[in-house]
Subunit: 422 residues, 2 copies
């Protein structure tokens, strides 16, 4: 047998086991799922030494391969990070269980009672880069929402992921749930990902988490539906009726609070009418915070240190301390710019004019549209949804933060007493 | 230029035009959309002669090609059917507009107000067989839900579809909405379908309506998400606590009311305990109604006219006056059979035992699960959802009947007064 054949057989078996586990999980009680999460959290704490040893070996290899410092930082575990993972499992146990929720119920004139009830999606495949904590978080979110998970992390974190996965399995066993509810693909062979993306008979949805190239590849190749966001090219638009103080504070926060997250603002749009009155203070605040600025000619005219923005700047997710700034002709100009260059993630208007705000909130076609608040609030936790597995910019199924509810489907239950259809 | 190149260029242009039209439609008022629907209904009535002439030409060609009588019947239009189409547009105008609905709204401790608001999906591609009325119905449902439509009907109905489409365009013009809101692919070249299924940058969702081979092909080839049901292998399960009268009436209705619809029952499961007490009366009723029966050995023992059921019978959607019958060991046996052979469409339990009913309703993983009522109620109209564009057996996005609401997505609107994220 070739290796490829082996991997195909292995992935089929994993898919089949996941589907069987999903059937049990769909019927598991909330208490049972919470018990599994809490036991897994305890196991993470108890197995701290084992996990740290596995992680040290991952780090050694990664350092020998000269991984970038940012990647090494993501990969690294210490006691505080392990405790954070365990705490996150405990927190997910405390979230409400969406499964079984009656979303709506009504009676028909013929006496039929119809209710729409939340059920798990089934089997979720998650593909992510070398962040060991995703193994715990993603596995736990799938478990709480009644879904079986097939996880595939980056190769650099393979040993750490395995050690964490062992703790999750311990939790499942303690709650008498099938261990196959959370599986980690045990090989780093890329063919395994290809197989996973084709397992339409077993896998209901794929959630890729990571950089643009990973997500593009998954969206291109997957025959299973994908829930993801490709880019987070978020905008703040300073309207002519913007409050200057809010404009400065929000722009600074939206760009600089954390530059590497998808809700960080990448382009600032400014109404030409307030270029002179509002932009200088914003520029000063950003420069003091260490942000590189790139602007159109009118923006550059305000400050000679501003670099010229190229066409590519309007479509670039810097994920860094860089901001592109463009002058626009009112809210319509802002809406047009966002429609053309945006990524339908999160966009914000700063204005004291309620009418203009509503135009922006209605006409900008993004998952999250905001008024007078920082784009960095684009987060399931900040929305009050508890933990999130990511943000979706697609319009199918879930849009915006993907929390427990968004990992469910529904079914209709119809109760009658002998009705036949005329 | 090759023809293929021409078709690719044409489909790109149609996609681009649809996306532009969708942006206008998303902002159209309910009154404007209703005016377009009502004007289109009037145009259908006024253009009756033109439509009938076009249809007569389609029928001539179809007859010369010796189309099956059932297909010819679907293709045929007469004044009553044209009036029914017009009436259906008027009825869709009366349905509530889902766009703009605030699905949920809440305040965060930091003062942010978050609301989830329904928005259209965008552009919907609909691929269907030679039923001219689908051109009107599908176009109207997309319009009312604020979506642009690209329609592709079967080649046999091309002339009828064009005449109906002309009326829809007349309605759009009368309401000052873009004509490109509803487009019909003007060529019967199969390459056009292939192009449509790849238009990920313009088309948000594909809805195929028709036979299994059409849907399989679309699901296999589409890079755009697909919403559909492949099979409707619906089951009725007669529990040991079933009321005999209900069992007979519901089984007869579920199988024979109309045999060609997706909610028609294809397999009857009977608890072994009531084989002798309940099944004979059901068999008699079905035989009188002209239904062919195929059963396992225990079922055949009750009536020598019953043919032996083969393994393939459990996975066949007959869409005809044929029923397969199997003995099972209680509700667990029924659930296992449905999990193995069903199509996750619609399944029903007949029982007077409320506990058993709940087990079935909870554990059968189908879009619609029923208690003591006919599977032929599996229909958006019967659910009180108004018109439907089809039934989805997938778990992503919409499950069960797909009405106006299911043709929408949502966005989050966040209103603040200067909040920044700590």
């Amino acid at each position: 047998m070739t290796t490829e054949h082996n991997i195909s057989t292995m992935m089929q078996a994993m898919g089949q086991a996941a589907k069987a586990a999903a059937q049990s999980l769909a019927l598991a009680t909330t208490d049972q799922k919470n018990a599994a999460l809490q036991a897994a959290a305890q196991a993470l704490r108890a197995q701290q030494e084992t996990i740290l040893k596995a992680n040290a070996r991952d780090m050694e290899i990664a350092e020998a391969r000269h991984l970038a410092p940012a990647l090494l930082d993501r990969l690294m575990l210490d006691p505080a990070r392990i405790e954070a993972m365990a705490g996150s499992l405990d927190a997910i146990a405390l979230l409400p269980d969406p499964v079984g929720d009656v979303m709506a119920a009504w009676d028909r004139p013929n006496g039929l009672n119809i209710s729409r009830v939340r059920v798990p999606l089934g089997v979720i495949g998650i593909i992510y880069e070398s962040r060991p904590n995703v193994t715990a978080d993603a596995g736990a979110l799938c478990l709480k929402s009644g879904n079986a998970a097939i996880l595939r992390g980056g190769s650099e974190s393979a040993r750490s992921s395995k050690a964490i996965h062992d703790c999750l399995k311990e939790g499942l066993r303690a709650a008498r749930l099938p261990e196959e509810a959370i599986q980690v693909i045990p090989t780093q062979d890329r063919a395994a990902v290809g197989e996973l993306l084709g397992l339409v008979q077993y896998v209901d949805i794929i959630v890729p988490r990571g950089g643009k190239s990973l997500i593009e590849r998954v969206q291109q190749d997957s025959r299973v539906p994908v829930m993801a966001h490709l880019d987070g090219i978020c905008h703040v638009y300073i309207d002519k009726d913007a409050d200057l103080e809010k404009a400065v504070a929000i722009t600074l926060n939206a760009k600089m609070r954390r530059t590497g997250i998808c809700g960080a603002t990448e382009t600032l749009l400014v109404d030409q009418d307030v270029l002179d009155s509002h932009l200088p203070a914003i520029i000063d605040a950003l420069k003091i915070a260490g942000c590189e600025l790139r602007g159109d000619k009118a923006v550059q005219a305000l400050d000679e240190s501003i670099l010229p923005a190229q066409e590519a700047d309007w479509t670039t997710e810097y994920l860094d301390a860089i901001l592109s700034i463009r002058t626009v002709d009112g809210v319509t100009g802002a809406i047009d710019h966002i429609a053309r260059y945006g990524s339908q993630h999160t966009d914000c208007i700063i204005t004291e004019n309620a009418v203009t705000a509503e135009i922006f909130l209605t006409q900008v076609d993004s998952a999250i549209v905001m008024h007078n608040s920082s784009t960095q609030f684009a987060d399931g936790g900040e929305f009050g949804m508890g933990a999130e597995i990511g943000i979706s910019t697609g319009k199918m199924h879930a849009r915006g933060p993907v929390g427990l509810e968004q990992l469910t489907s529904y079914k209709y239950q119809v109760r009658g007493d002998g009705q036949t259809r005329p």
